[in-house]
Amino acid sequence: MALRGLATFDAAFTQRARRVRLRVLLHGLLGGLTSGAVVALPFAALAWWTRHGALRLGALACLAVGTAVARFALRGRRWSDADVALFLDEKLRSDEAIVTALGLRDRTTPPAKMVVKAAMAALARELPKGSGPRVVRVWHLLAPIGCVATLWIARLELPPAALQPPPPPGTDTVALENLEGLDEARALAKLAPGDAAQHERLRAIAERAERLKSQLAKGMPRREAQAELSRLRDDVAAERQRLGAGEERRGLEAALAKLANEAPLDAAGRALGDRDLTQFDDEMEKLANRLEGDDRERAKKTLEEAADAARREGAKDVAKSLEEQKKRLEARAEGAEALRELAKSLGEGLSPEGKRALEEMGKDGSPQDRAELGRELAKALEGLSDTEKKRVAEKLKARARELGEKGREGKTLEHLQRDLATPDGQKGLADALKELAQEPTESEVERRDRALGDAARELGQGESRLQQPGLVPVPIEGGSGAPGNAGGSKDPGRAGVSRGGERGEHGAGTKAVDGDGLRARAAAKLNPGAPNAGSVVGRTPGRTGETARTGGTGRLGEAAPGELSGVERSGIPREYREQVGRYFPAR
């Protein structure tokens, strides 16, 4: 009916063709939209499943993509005029009048005009209802369904994330600019070595420490860092323990046996047995400060015998160390004796602090007390008048004469007396006293031993720092160290609970378990998602700088160096030691 006003066949056909093509286009676009919705739904579901929440709404972009693809595809499938005409002829039942009219080359001939007339009449008719190109089909319902389902998925809460297995302990990367012990280990190369082999070993340790420090600065796996640090610490500890090891062990054992016979050298012997030369030196210094007269001489003799025994057994380093200690004992004892005599000569001129230091030095031989005494003596000498100084000098002279026959102490006192006689001597004496108050200088062996000990200790601290915080055991309620529940439960079937260090009440009994149903379920929520606290420890540090693997280098049936005089160094009461020691004879 709308075509009634159109004058020409072309206009009528064009208008009808436009409507037909529009419906075909809409059908295609709707198909693309539906395809996009069908694709969008599983896409959104996949995004939800993989917890990509933002991509869920992005799935709706599939609708636009599907429509665009359909539009692109339809571009090459546009109905030609002949197609439209044939379609209209079929639907309008016009016996191909329209397509014939459309193809006429000359529309002025009578037959052509009649054909055009018939075509116009056909075009004037409305298409029967529902016979036009169908725009909407049943399967197009998938488009709204897909959109709604996609939006529903977009609003869904994301599924819980799958628990990721914790990484193996120590596989994380650690980066540290400075780690305790590495600088001390690097400095070992600058120590004076005992021999060329030791020089090579110390240099190798220093290089490895340098390399580890560099790697740690860049970042490296924690486990590798811990392993390398442990190896370094072991090597440093082994180097420190090298005295008396191997072929020199028998010599060390012989020397320790000698030292064990002299009671004042008991502590020093234990330190040597532990190969702790620093401790050995400290003990010997205390001994030098403490011992007087014959005791000191016996100690020197014992040291000399021990050195001889070690030398006989081939332990040259041990013998050398013992001889050095003997010399140092002499020098220290001489100085301590001089201080002691000077203090006695001063009498009441010595301050109470000086007297206390003198008394303490005599008891335990503490180097601090000796230094304190030296300082107080210097002060006291400065405060004396010339007359008093002469009197002190006279006393020292008399004492020197008294000791002159006995050895070096007498000569020392003579020197003191001479010094007090002149102003320059007095000044020199004051300086000498101050020098006596200073800490004694260390030998190369001691310095090396101390440096190795420091390095091993610092490396141990560095190793502790590298440990993961997650490995710290979590306190458990009621466990040792934590307060337990007050009293045990009286409820039958439950065991008593410890009070934490105290004995719990265990009066209650446990009845037979009723297995008909589930009564309780463990629901531990301790550190959810994290591995249970715990660790596997491959070494058991007994002391800083040592490891449990220190022993075990000797043959079966022989005692390790550290085990020698173990009875004496143990906490066994002295009166039982001899009896216990029978079971562990030294060879």
Binding site: K91, D95, E96
Partner: protein, 338 residues
Amino acid sequence: MAEEFEARLAEATRTTSRLFDAIAQVIVGQTEVVEQTLWALLAGGHVLLEGAPGLGKTLLVKTIARCLELEFSRIQFTPDLMPSDVTGTNVLVADETGRRSFSLQKGPVFTQVLLADEINRATPKTQSALLEAMQEAACTIAGTRYELSPPFFVLATENPIEMEGTYPLPEAQLDRFLLKVLVPSPSEDEMTQILVRTTGHEHEAPASVLSREEVLTLRRLCRDIAIAEPVVRYAARLVGASDPSSPNAPEVVRRALRYGAGVRGAQSLVLVSKAVALLAGRAHVSFADIARVSKPVLRHRMIRSFEGEADGISTDQVVEALLEHVATRPTAGERPTA
């Protein structure tokens, strides 16, 4: 001018309608046969009528000839019929003075409507004499070519039952016939009416309805009928698909045919479709017209294979398969169906 053409079409429709009515006074039933014969008349082709004896083939042709107000001849083909019996010959005749000369004795082919009864009983030599006239609308006698008077319209009959002593027409010659019309047996009602009509007094012969000029005018009008290019393509695809070697040929064609219809078959499809459109009062041909004429146009132009003959697949069945297989619109598959 459109109105004038429309009026001419309407007049043609009325005229053919009168012709139908006139024939129907004599022929009972056989509407399709009559209609298809008229298609050939309007399209300017010849018709091969095939049917059992006694179905009114000869009566039909006689009636059409009378209704058309055209010259009519009949040849009863027999094995001893000579070509000259068909075309005619020069005979020696003496005039009143006794002078002898050759004079052309025209044969029965010199007519406008020729009934070639039982054409398959003549020898191929005689058949070819007629077929030349059918093709050329002329015949040559003793070296002289003689044009036949238009409209030259041959209606040949063929008896498919009595094959003894017959000479089946070669396929190339069958192709000369525009249509091959199958004359069916009458239904019970038709038979009853035939019995009533033929067992009483004879009726008067039907009146002439179409003059020679009107027939020629209708033929020209038939050529004016328009046909769209997609419709022509459909006819071409239909004929092309009848070739067993064609990739578009359906399976039954490949199995049952040895040769398909040729170009002459496609031309005949379009031409006869125009006649159909003319009879329908339309100035254009439709797909339905092509489909409607395809059987009488194509059935005698396709040569069955041994397998087709052995399986009893008729050419009509092949044409039905072709109509089912070949789409009217080649791009139909690319469009959504309405």
